[in-house]
Amino acid sequence: MTAAPATPVPTTAALALGDDALVLSHRLGEWAGHAPVLEEEVALANIALDLLGQARVLLSMVGDEDELAYLREERSFRNLQLVEQPNGDFAHTIARQLYFSTYQHLLYTELAAGDGQFAGLAAKAVKEVAYHRDHAEQWTLRLGDGTDASRERMQRATAALWRFTGEMFQPVEGLDVDLSALEAAWLEAVGGVLRRATLTVPEGPRSGAWTAGAGRQGVHTESFGRMLAEMQHLHRSHPGASW
């Protein structure tokens, strides 16, 4: 989509960020036709579209966007395990959105302030992601501080996905940000939202043994293979197909 940059692109970082956006976009797209209300269906689809646009720019920095999206094998994807997790119930989707969009917003804010290869895209995307983050926060507050049933589900979802959140702050080659500062800001922001939503901040481990997180190295969870099969089958069955 964009012209080739003059300086070499940090391929590893572009793939990591691009795959995060692509995979989460696909997961959110799975809600089409299934969301609890029409407005939410439209909201999730619009967030998916924003992410897809970001993925196209990032993957195009590395190579052909279609080849990268549709012809890579599972082990070549560099996305976080968090974004590939199945949608679950609506609370799981919102918890995943809260964790990821807060991370993406903080990260893109940093990247936009720098002068690296990602500054241009980050400056544009950070404005879109601010709406994603706000959407997730508002829903976390409504579900957490809602009925007994919604609170229980939101609590369960935030706890279930907690172990995937440490991976976001692993170093990525070519991503020049202060990860420990990013992590501290993330913990403060997410903790603040959860507490306002009357939820308990999960206490389980976020990194180290017995936690998830090697997506950046190409190790993915079981459901990712099935997601890829669905995402890639049309392009693989009909190479070069277009609308």
Binding site: E39, I47, D50
Partner: protein
Amino acid sequence: MVTATGTTALEAELLGIAGSVPDPELPALTLRELGVVRAVHLRAADSVEVELTPTYTGCPALETMSLDIERALHAHGMREVEVRTVLVPAWSTDDITDEGRRKLREFGIAPPRTRAAAGPVPLSLGPTRIADDGPETGSAPSRALDADPVHCPHCGSPDTELLSRFSSTACKALRRCLACREPFDHFKEL
């Protein structure tokens, strides 16, 4: 003839033609009024490059816009037209012209509010209902919008409420007028 800014008269004319193409999703507006055609560079007598910027990174209308611009410039005698997507500087709703805002309102869409000067803005945390606007986590300038209500494009009332942060397209939010009860789209500030 070269003007002070380095743009030739022909480039200015071609920029005008590219800018007069209607937006595929908001046909009441031209691309110039939307603020997405950045520049036109003449590469040869009949070869031209156009810089186009997307409203949102994933704007699906971008390809149609490019084709429409190519068609318009071909019709004006350009043999070769290349439309290049530029992301920097990021497009903002402040790039929509005053005429564009007026046309949006006439089209039934509340135009985006312009941002007041950036600066410290008081942050209010707490309410969980979705009566607020704009991302609470957004940059400080977006908080400055709070003092400026979104007016109903139908009856002009400032008494409107947010129904959904995302509407028919990524760039719009869905609102309802509390005076005339009509729902309407609001072009979100970006």
